[in-house]
């Protein structure tokens, strides 16, 4: 865990246990080590104990703000959405009896279970096109009453697509998104959170990636009071490949959290996780937890995960917790990295020494820092729009 303000600080391994808890912790409250895949799962919210805020799963989240989504009855009715049309793409509401529901994973926390038990119909995006197709599903009218929702995204075997989930407007939403990447399919899923500034959004994404399939998952979180999006990806067949990217920009009073989980189930699977965030303003808060589990049968696994945070002002806090569990030693590679730092003064000096003003130099450095992820978004005009959205965020950064 790294918290600002601090000079450039890089987590060096081997020196001491992480502040999140480890071998040298003496407090009795430390949660015993548990294999990530053994976590309790249920679709029934009452099967989970009351959430008090001390739980490892919730302790970094502003519980008061998200409590209605954990404890209250959620409106699970269908809502208005718009979707672009294309050949080999089907977007429709489906019943709870749809065979795909529950095929990718089950809730591991109470708010996720609350959403699961409340939705009336699930919105299913099914892609069968074997030539690349772009699909954008937009929601902007969810309202500010507590809601639960369920979405299925199925990339049929050998299909190729980019699916954008575009979120705007007000929200008090807990939802589950199931993603099925069939054998040989290529799916890029981009979830863009540009909610109204008082919106609260909890989401669990569950993905299974089939044989020789490629899954690219990109989370872009810019607008909303609280955004907590936890993507789990299970590489269930040989040759499955996942790239999980995240880009976030937390302003004053904003909480953006992501708990990323990658499970290497089958042999010869590959994953890359790269989340980058910027924090600016009093109370800007981000959390990144990255769990990777290399299962006993996942020989030949190749995985690397990293998180980078750029702190632009005083009064911010970035938590960054990478975890790696290895049940077989017969792997190609496994690594993780985390760093949280301020502006690099030498970068600013270099740019200024070429006549560029300090303000413009800072803008270039932040855009450059985040552009590594923006460059991964190859969905039509979305990349250009995201660049403009980040530029707009930067207008709030003082020099």
């Amino acid at each position: 865990m790294t918290s600002a303000p601090a000079a450039e600080s890089v987590v060096l391994h081997g020196n001491k246990a992480h502040s999140d808890g480890g071998w040298d912790a003496t407090a009795p409250s430390v949660v015993p080590v548990q294999t990530r895949s053994d976590r309790f799962k249920s679709t029934d919210p009452s099967a989970f104990p009351e959430v008090l805020g001390f739980e490892a799963e919730w302790k970094l989240t502003p519980l008061k703000l998200v409590a209605p989504l954990i404890n209250d009855t959620l409106d699970g009715s269908i809502y208005e959405y718009s979707a672009t049309e294309g050949d080999g793409v089907d977007v429709a509401w489906v019943d709870r009896t749809d065979a795909r529901i529950g095929s990718t994973g089950l809730p591991e926390e109470k708010a996720s279970a609350n959403a699961w038990s409340s939705f009336e119909k699930a919105l299913a995006v099914t892609i069968s096109s074997e030539t690349h197709v772009d699909v954008t599903v937009s929601r902007s009218g969810l309202g500010s009453a507590a809601r639960g929702a369920h979405t299925i995204i199925e990339a049929k075997p050998n299909s190729i697509s980019t699916v954008v989930l575009q979120n705007n407007g007000p929200a008090l939403l807990s939802e589950n998104v199931e993603i099925i990447v069939g054998d040989g399919a290529q799916l890029t899923l981009v979830s863009v959170q540009e909610w109204d500034e008082d919106a609260i959004h909890l989401a669990s994404h569950f993905a299974t990636v089939g044989r020789d399939a490629r899954f690219r998952h990109i989370v872009v979180s810019l607008g909303g009071k609280v955004i907590r999006l936890n993507p789990s990806t299970h590489l269930v067949a040989p040759g499955a490949d996942a790239e999980l990217f995240g880009l976030y920009f937390a302003d004053a009073g904003q909480h953006i959290e992501q708990r990323v989980y990658v499970e290497h189930v089958a042999e010869h699977t590959k994953s890359r996780v790269n989340y980058k965030g910027a924090l600016n303003g009093e109370g800007a808060r981000t959390v990144w937890v990255g769990d990777v589990l290399i299962g006993a049968k996942a020989a030949g696994t190749d995985t690397y995960e990293q998180n980078r945070n750029l702190v632009l002002s005083e009064g911010t806090r970035a938590d960054s917790v990478p975890n790696l569990e290895i049940e077989t030693g017969d792997i190609l590679g496994a690594g993780h990295a985390s760093a949280t730092g301020r502006f690099d003064d030498e970068q600013l000096f270099y740019l200024q020494a070429r006549g560029i003003t300090e303000r413009e130099a800072r803008r270039l450095v932040v855009l450059g820092f985040l552009s590594e992820i923006v460059q991964k978004v190859d969905a039509g005009e979305l990349q250009d729009r995201l660049k403009l959205a980040i530029e707009a965020e930067l207008l709030g950064v003082s020099v």
Partner: protein, 254 residues
């Protein structure tokens, strides 16, 4: 004709438990169009002079002055100094992730000139300068200094020098770590800028090797934060044969 004048310059840096004086009264005057070599052993303050002129915040000026055509350089921000016509080719240029060379060059040119350069002539000029410095076209799309070899970084510095057309360039050990071919390419770039724009050059180096390709009009020998000796190009030849030992023993005695 511009002049860069340094008078009795005293500079210190913060060290653990206090400050350390590095420049102890440096006097130097550089006319636009002339080439001055600043030579000296390690730790004599050569690079401190370079970074102080450019305005690096690590160096504190405790006395003396730097003026450019009478204007007080020490009162200018780092970027204002660059816009006034000063350029520092750095010994260790930093990486700027996510900022491409083409974006960086255009942004810098726009900042220096106060307006964006017309696109077609600019692209042509960049292409020609890159060609002359044997820089591959693909460089434009790479991030600034990211994954560059030592030689590529130096050529990229000289590319900026040619494109930004400053009045004065300070080259901080631009020759270090270059093989002879790269040294020739870099030197040709400096000579081109000198001939076409009347650039004044402060060439900071430990070794005389680069002076075979860039002939200085004046040579200043730095020892222990002061100019210990000054002369014409013949002084460089003498240093080539004798090294710095003579000055070091002088310094320890005096």
């Amino acid at each position: 004709m511009s002049t860069l004048v340094i008078k009795n310059l005293q500079v210190s840096v913060d060290i653990e438990g206090g400050t350390k004086e590095i420049l102890k009264g440096v006097d130097l005057s550089v006319e636009q169009g002339s080439i001055h070599a600043i030579m000296g052993p390690n730790g004599s303050g050569k690079s401190t002079l370079a970074y102080t002129i450019a305005g690096h915040p690590k160096y504190h000026v405790t006395g003396g002055s730097i003026t450019l055509d009478g204007e007080n350089v020490l009162k200018m921000t780092v970027d204002a100094r660059a816009r006034a016509g000063l350029f520092l080719a750095m010994q260790y240029p930093v990486e700027i992730p996510g900022v491409t060379v083409s974006n960086f060059l255009r942004t810098a040119k726009t900042a220096i000139d106060g307006e964006a350069p017309p696109l077609r002539p600019w692209l042509k000029e960049v292409k020609e300068s890159m060609g002359a410095l044997r820089i591959d076209k693909a460089f434009s799309d790479r991030n600034v200094n990211e994954g560059f070899s030592g030689g590529e970084k130096k050529r990229h510095e000289i590319l900026q020098l040619e494109l930004l057309k400053p009045k004065f360039a300070i080259l901080d050990e631009t020759d270090s770590g270059l093989d002879v071919d790269a040294l020739k390419i870099v030197s040709e770039g400096v000579n081109r800028a000198h001939e076409t724009t009347g650039l004044g050059v402060l060439l900071i180096t430990h070794y005389t090797r680069i002076l075979r390709y860039i002939r200085p009009d004046f040579v200043h020998v730095f020892v222990d934060g002061r100019v210990a000796e000054e002369g014409g190009p013949e002084l460089a030849d003498r240093l080539e044969n004798e090294g710095y030992d003579r000055y070091l023993s002088d310094a320890s005695v005096g």
